[in-house]
């Protein structure tokens, strides 16, 4: 087994394909990665996967025949054949028909792109805010005007 520094994991899509990102990931990120991903088998050096286990996995991966796997461990081949009957059954499962109908029913008549909707909402908020501010300014100007007029009248009366 050896550590695989080129490996990616969930949330780091394409990291393995981008040399820059891959190198940047370095050894520092090893601790954050699932243990299951940290070890990669080297061909011919498989201390954890002995002969029977290796043959079994190779058979399940389609690399060797069932006969080869049986020669290594016939008991496990029987087990995996039983499991295969169940996984084959699951492969034939279909989505309940009402799910598709529910999805279509939940879609709005007119498609609004989420980002566009956000922009529109923001624009609406901005417009409303601007209108409100403009309204406030007008009211304030009016109030100031009335106040000035009242002060003018009072001063005029005092002078006369």
């Amino acid at each position: 087994m050896m550590l695989d520094p080129n490996e990616a994991q969930e949330g780091r899509a394409n990291a393995g394909r981008n040399p820059e990102y891959r190198d940047a990931a370095g050894d520092g990120s090893q601790a954050d990665r699932p243990l299951a991903d940290r070890e990669v088998p080297l061909h011919g050096m498989l201390p954890a996967e002995d002969g029977p286990a290796l043959a079994l996995n190779q058979w399940l991966d389609g690399d060797v025949t069932e006969a080869d796997a049986r020669r290594a461990d016939s008991k496990q081949v029987e087990l995996w054949n039983r499991i295969a009957t169940e996984t084959d059954r699951r492969k034939r499962m279909v989505t309940p028909a009402y799910v598709a109908a529910n999805i279509m029913a939940a879609l709005p008549e007119k498609r609004v792109e989420a980002q566009a909707a956000t922009v529109t909402a923001t624009a609406t908020r901005t417009t409303v805010a601007a209108d409100t501010e403009r309204g406030l300014s007008m009211n304030m100007a009016l109030a100031v005007g009335v106040g000035m007029f009242a002060i003018g009248l009072a001063v005029g009366k005092l002078v006369l």
Partner: protein
């Protein structure tokens, strides 16, 4: 050689077609055919043909439903995740870059992972009512074997990343290359995950079944 492997049959067939044939879908109002590419369909939806979206649901709902069901163990949750994911996809169609099926798969896979994180429990409920349904025939649904229950239980014991890899390989019948493409990781890492998942399942099931 590979014909002797029970779950490798049909892997080479593009799964878009394979699943599209199996799906029972609501009729689309527009005359779209199976040969229309995803991009054609997406263009029509963006242009305002809402009903064309049903074609995309028909093409991809089954494999995604199987994935969600395998990951969550609950038909109700799987249906919810599927529904939410398709609706999200509908609203973000202009953001699709590259393969639509891969993009959609990531939405569903992330939905499953979020759900698993949120429930914060180490194993799923295995009440009778919570068992997977949706088998092709009622007979199959009734034929709930002990192995099925035990396999469900054993799968729930696996770490999500191992369960995901096993489901994709053995239930969805995907190749390692396709899995690597969808998950953004390498074939080597996925082989390791699948091998570890098998090892764990074997340990849990061999006493009773081997």
């Amino acid at each position: 050689m590979s014909s002797t492997i029970p779950w490798s049959a049909g892997v080479s067939v593009p799964y878009v077609r394979r699943y599209a044939n199996a799906v029972k879908m609501t009729e689309t109002a527009t005359p779209l055919t199976e040969v229309d590419s995803d991009q054609d369909v997406i263009s029509r939806v963006i242009a305002g043909d809402r009903d064309a979206f049903a074609t995309l649901i028909g093409r991809y709902s089954d494999p995604l439903y199987r994935h969600a069901l395998g990951m969550t163990g609950s038909p109700d949750v799987a249906e919810d995740i599927l529904q939410t994911s398709f609706i999200k996809a509908y609203h973000h169609l202009t953001e699709v870059r590259g393969r639509f099926d891969a993009w959609l798969f990531r939405i569903v896979a992330n939905g499953c992972k979020d759900w698993l994180k949120n429930i914060r429990r180490t194993h799923l409920s295995y009440d009778e009512d919570d068992q997977p349904s949706g088998f092709a025939s009622p007979d199959e649904d009734l034929d709930r074997t002990e192995l099925r229950t035990d396999l469900d239980y054993a799968l729930a014991q696996l770490a999500p990343s191992l369960r995901e890899a096993f489901i994709m390989k053995h239930v969805e019948g995907r190749s390692y290359e396709e899995m690597a493409d969808l998950l953004g990781t390498t074939v080597g890492a996925l082989k390791m995950r699948v091998h570890r998942a098998r090892e764990a399942l074997q340990a849990l099931l061999e006493e009773k079944y081997a």
